[in-house]
Structures are given as C-alpha cells and as structure tokens.
Symmetry: none
Subunit: 225 residues, 4 copies
DNA sequence: CATGAATGAGGGTTCATTCAT
DNA sequence: GATGAATGAACCCTCATTCAT
C-alpha cells in the first residue's frame, strides 16, 4: 500500500467520519476496526496513532456528535432577539440531530441507526447531549416563565426531562417511519402522535394551546408523501 | 461430566433462567454461551438441542419476560371490581418489572442491568412488552373515560405511549438511584422527579390532581433511607 | 482441515511436547502459539481448550519438566541401599536434565537452549526444580553426616545451594561446549573446570578428596571426541 | 514538539540512560522503543540516528554497564598498595553493581530487576562483565598466592568462576531480600547464607578462615532492620 | 539532525458453532 | 438427548521499523 501522508487532524477526522458512518450503519460492536481502516485507506497500525482503543474512538465520535448538536442549540438559546416559544420550537426542529436523523439520512442507514444493535450508541449520544442540553433548555424555560408563556414549578428539571422526552419521541418516530412500508396505517398514527406529542409538551410546560410545535406537522406531512 | 437426562422443557427452562440472569448481569454480547452452559452444568453441544443460536435464546428470554410482565398486568386490567385509577396505579406499581428492577434486585446487578452495555436487551424487552401492554392500558383508559375520571381524545394511542413513558422513567430513576453514592443531591432530585412524573401523567390523561401515583412516593422515600 | 478427535490427555501431551520442543529451540517469547498449533496439527481455537493462555502453557511445561527431574532424584534419594556419596553422585550424573541437556540433545537445539533469549525459561525450570530438589539433597547430606563422610554445619541450606551450584555449572558447561568449535582450547578448559567443580563440592561438603564426581570426567572426555 | 538539537554523544547518552532505567524497571522485551523515545523527549525517527535497532541499544547498554563495573574493579586491582585479600574483598563489596543492586535501589525497581522477565539482560551483563573481570580477579588471586594467603592450583580459572559465583550469590540474595515480607524467616536465612558463602570462597581459594568478606555481614545486618 | 505519520506482519485471544462419538 | 473436542474466522492490539518532509 502506497504511503499517503496527511496532517494529524485531517486524518483523525477521516477516522471519525468513517467510524461514525459505520457505527450508524452497522452498530458499534458490529463494526470492526478493520472495516474502519479499510474505509480510511490506511494500514492497520495507523489506527492507534489516533485512538488508544476502539472504545476511545466511540467516545470521540459521541463527543463530536453531541458537541455539534449542542453548539447549534446554544446559538439559538443565546439569541437575545427570540422569544422563548420560538427558541424552544427551533431548538428541536432545527436540531441537526432531528433533521439529520430523520429526513436527510437515506432509509437503509436510518433503518440501521435505529436497529436495536445500535441502541447503545444512540443512548450514549442522547445522554451525553442531554447533560449539556438540559441546562440550555432550562434557561429557555426560565425565559418563558419571565415572558409569562410557560407555567411550571420545575424549570431546571424540565430542561433535561424535555430533552429526554424529545429523544424518546425521536426514536418512536423513527420506528414508525421505518415500519410504514409494512404498516401503511402508521402514516395516520404518526400524525396523531405528533399532535399528542406537541400537546404533551404544552401541558408539561403549561404553555398556551397550539404554541408548541417541537415536531413540525407540516414538514412531516410533506415527508410522508 | 456425568450425563444427566432431563425433560425437554425443564432443561429448556434452566437455559432460560441462566441466560436471563447472565444477560441481566453482564449484558447479552458480554455473555458467552460457554458461561450459560457452565451455569446450567451441561456440555457444549447440548445448547443447540434447545436453541438454534444465541440470538434465538435472547428472543426466547425476552419473550418470556415480557410475557410474564403482561400476564400480571392482564389480571389487573381484567379485574371487574376495580376502578380505572386504581387499576392504572397498580398496573405500574405492582408491575413485577418495577419492583424487580428497583427494589428487590441487589445493587451490583441493578448497576449492571442499566449499564449501557445492556441497553439493547432492556430496550427490546420494553418494546416487546409495550406492544402487548399498550392495548391493555388503553382499555383501562377507556374505562376511565367511562368513569369520567380521564379526559383524553386518544385513549388507544395513550396506552402504548404511557407504557413507554413509564419505561423511560424507570430507566431514568435507575440511573439516579445508582448515582446516589456519588451525588447525594440525587436523593432530593428523585423525589422531585416523582412528583413531576405523576403530575405529567395526570395531565396526559386529564386525570384529577393527585389521583395518579404510578410511582409510589412513599415507597421510594422509605427506600431512600 | 479434517477434524481429528483425540482424548483430552493425549492432545494435552501433544501440546506440551510441541511447546517444550519449540520453547527449547526458539525461546518462549519467540515461539508463537501459531507455531505450536501447526506442530500439533490442530486449529487455532483448540489451544484454549487445554491452556488458559500462553503463559499457562509455559507454567505447565516447566512443571512437567521439573516434576520429571525431581521424580528421578527422589527414587535415588529414597533408595535405602545406597550410601550418601553414591546417591549424591548419581542424583546429578543421572539427572535427566543433565544427560538430556548436554549429551543427547542435538547441537543446534542445545545451542538454542542456552541462547540468552531462552534464559528465562531455563531459570524458572531451575528454580522450580530447586525448590523441591533442595530438601531431597539435604536429606542425602544428612545421611552423609550420619555416615561420617560429610562434615558441614548447614545440611539444610546446602541442599538447595548445591542444586543451584549444579545448575550454574551446567550452564557454564553448556556455554563452553557450544564454544568448542570456535575455541578449541575450551576442550582443556572444560576438563579443568570439571576438576575444579568436583573439588569445590567436596570442600563445600567437607567430603573426602576424590569422592565427589558430580560431573563425570570420563563421560565428558568421551563426549569431547 | 519543538526541535531540540543536541550534540551527538549527549543525545546518545540520554538514550542509554533512559533505556537502562526502563530495561531495569520493566525488562528488555517489555520496554518499547516508544517508551524510551518518550522519556528522552524526542520523536520516533530520531532513535535510528543513534542505534541501528532495539537490540543494538541493548548491546550498548550492557557494554556501558559492564564497562563501568570493570573500571571500578580495575582501579582496585591495580592499586599497588593493597594486599590481595583486601583487594578481593573490596572488589566485590564496593562493586557498584553490588551496592547499586541491593542497597541503594528502591524496592520496586529491585523487584523488577530480578523479575524473571528481566533475567536475560541481567545474565548478559554478568557474562559480559565476567569476561573482563575474570582476568582482573585472576591477577589478584595470583598476587595472593605470592603473598602466601591463597592456596590454589587454578588461579586463572578461578578468576572467572569467582565472579560468576558472586553473580549467582547476588541473585540469590536479591531473591531472598525480596521475599522477606512474605517469609520473615528469610532474615535469618540470609545471614546464614552470608556465612556459608564467605566460607565457600575461602575454601575455594584456600584462604585463611575469616579472611574473606565478599559479602559484608555487618552491612547486611544493618540493612535488615 | 530531527520529525512523526505510516507501515504491516504478527501477536494472543474469543467464541458461536459443528460433529464424531 | 448428550457429550466435549475441534473448528476457524474474526477479533483488538503491539511495535520495530521506514521514509517523506
């Protein structure tokens, strides 16, 4: 194999990209270092210049993903011009994870991502993100209390709980989406669930009816064609 | 090793028992067929008389567990003498999985059970149970509507969603319980979460304030000593 | 590869034999499990039915070798018909390790055995043997004291020390033997050393001049042709 | 890493120092070039400017150590003012290797040094030293013969043999010292061995009783507190 | 002289599964 | 039904060494 030299961070990113793609597609346990090596196109030993172990690679992948997700959220949460409801809706709707996980990703990969062999990574990503996203969302909720659109006694706790709820909803949605071929009735079910879900969040926060559109019904309807 | 002959179903149950214990304690991937064999006290080849593969064993374990959980629920749901609220509270509170998962199980095992290496099995158990428990709970909700204690437009969907919500709560609770040693403040957080959680369910169902005690605050308070 | 079934102990012995030969010839570190497998003619996984690890195999090899050496010694030491001097001479002269290590073994293997890459195993064999041989020899020395042919204050300690001395001498001798091609003068040196060595042991034990022939001069002279 | 230029020999010495320390502490095989590089604070490729291979480095380390040991001995042996017995006692007692190996070195390092994984290097050092030290000691023995305090027929051979004997004794002593924690009775054993050992050497050389104190009983007694 | 990314053969080990007995 | 020796692909990882810069 001809030797191709690259800068440290460039190669490291190649590893992260390859790993992320394969972990998504086949699951962490099911992805061999060999497969990653092959995708990056380097020799066996090269891996260990960049990561101490396979597990360290997983950590890095997770950290990168949740880091990116949080960065987006942070930008929204810190925007001084938006009101709390707009922020909340956008934090989730525009969340890279949402779009990325559901719309843009090709179906076979999506199918793999939510395969049960993959749950572990997904869960760790969720938890890792929640830890940072929780306080961020909590701040939005507090803003909402000041703006008198939210009414809740537990703004801090709700930040994290809301994010977890979102993550679970996302998984449920993915599940249903992937089952549509077999169960056409899922189409209607999904739209019903969107309503229930948004409604639930409103009750959660004591927000005005119809204000929360964490999951965008319109976008979904379009997607369901 | 002396050859011990047993009835087909007896031996099969021994396999299921051993597998369940080990899967709980160490996770599915981390449990080798060898370990199961050793626990059952039987030779290598014997395994394949009972299960086609390791994966088939997992399926059987999951099926058995969710079958048991559902049987308990069914008995409660079908009881003609209870009102809906009592049924709902008891379905979850007395749910074998709940007690089993949190109170009776020794800490190290609980720690293992909720380790992220184990999530896959837990998730599959939850999904498997939810599929059957959903309609059961839906029936209770409908009874509640007839009794005018619940007020919701989506009784069918809520059955399943409620169960999933419960499962997520259970995981979150386990997480917090296991972290108490390191973070004493979790003690207070857990009790706060119980309130939030019960409150959430009430809003979910449009139930009277204070009626829902899916998670029993008193029991938890005692447990937290 | 066609499957060949053997009895547990037979196969285990095949492993021990192959390992011993290869460890001797190339050293422990330099011998790959693969090489052993190839020599035994079985598949990779088979190894781990018999030994928990490569290190466990080394332990077993060492134990077997020193076990055999000691068994021979024990037979001599326990012989009620021999006097102490005869026993002492025979314990070492007839010691399997001695003959095996120096006379019968083909030169290239002998060369390898005493290669410095191999010292570790040799040393462990020596120590392992010494631990058991020490008390055995001590008993002979005590018999010698009773027979008034040995005169020493430390019969117990001398048992072990004598064995170690012997082992060192054996190594030195091997060294010289292997150097004979390059240094013809070693021939004379070896014979001189035999004398010195036997003399040393006599002084060690306070034995009569000429009584000790731990290393057999005659045999060596013959060998040196 | 900033590039630091050093004089050839200075850097080479840094390599030797690092290697010696690590070889002692972890054994040759167990020490990776990487670890040495890290300790020197220099990049991968640099190593091969100074040593052709890892083995060449070991050779250099051994050569340097035995060179130093011999230099000390030589100074004593060539001292025209000392008598043979004083020289002999001092050659060993003051031998850097002795003090270094037993008294000054911290226990964990000593434990490592005499670990069986390390024997190969130790043995090579001993042999390498013995080759040069032999004739030196032989000269002292001959001086002793002239001074009529030694009485032996083989002064030349005894030089080397004496050194080897010393080396073996040193290893045995190290072994016992390291076992003292577990076996308190070793304390007495060590002192007994010192006596036996010195006595042995006297008989070896035909030296007056009590003249030889190659191992210093007093120093050891103090050390054993 | 020095760097450090890259090599790649090879290491020991695991384990679900097969099959002759 | 049960045994357990045997399989072999695949696993993760190590490390002395090379070489473009």
């Amino acid at each position: 194999m001809p030797r191709v030299l690259k800068e440290y961070n460039e190669r490291k990113n190649e590893f992260l990209n390859a790993a992320q793609e394969l972990f998504y597609a086949k699951g962490y346990e099911q992805t061999s270092i060999n497969a990653i090596l092959e995708m990056v196109g380097v020799a066996k030993g090269t891996f260990y210049h960049y990561f101490k172990s396979k597990e360290a690679l997983l950590d890095a992948v997770i950290e990168r993903i949740s880091g990116r997700a949080v960065a987006e959220m942070k930008a929204i949460a810190d925007n001084p011009e938006m009101d709390a409801i707009a922020k909340l809706n956008q934090v989730f709707q525009s969340s890279g994870s949402w779009k990325a996980a559901h719309m843009a990703i090709p179906i076979p990969i999506r199918r793999a991502l939510y395969n049960h062999k993959n749950i572990m990574m997904l869960r760790r990503m969720t938890l890792s993100t929640a830890r940072i996203a929780g306080p961020l969302i909590a701040k939005i909720i507090q803003q909402g209390k000041r703006e008198r659109v939210f009414d809740t006694e537990f703004p801090e706790d709700l930040g994290e709980l809301l994010y977890m709820q979102f993550a679970n909803w996302r998984e449920k949605l993915a599940d249903l989406l992937l089952g549509i071929d077999k169960h056409p009735e899922y189409r209607a079910k999904i739209l019903r669930y969107v309503d229930i879900y948004n409604d639930t969040i409103e009750r959660f926060l004591g927000a005005p009816k119809g204000s929360i559109m964490i999951s965008d019904r319109k976008a979904l309807e379009n997607f369901l064609e």
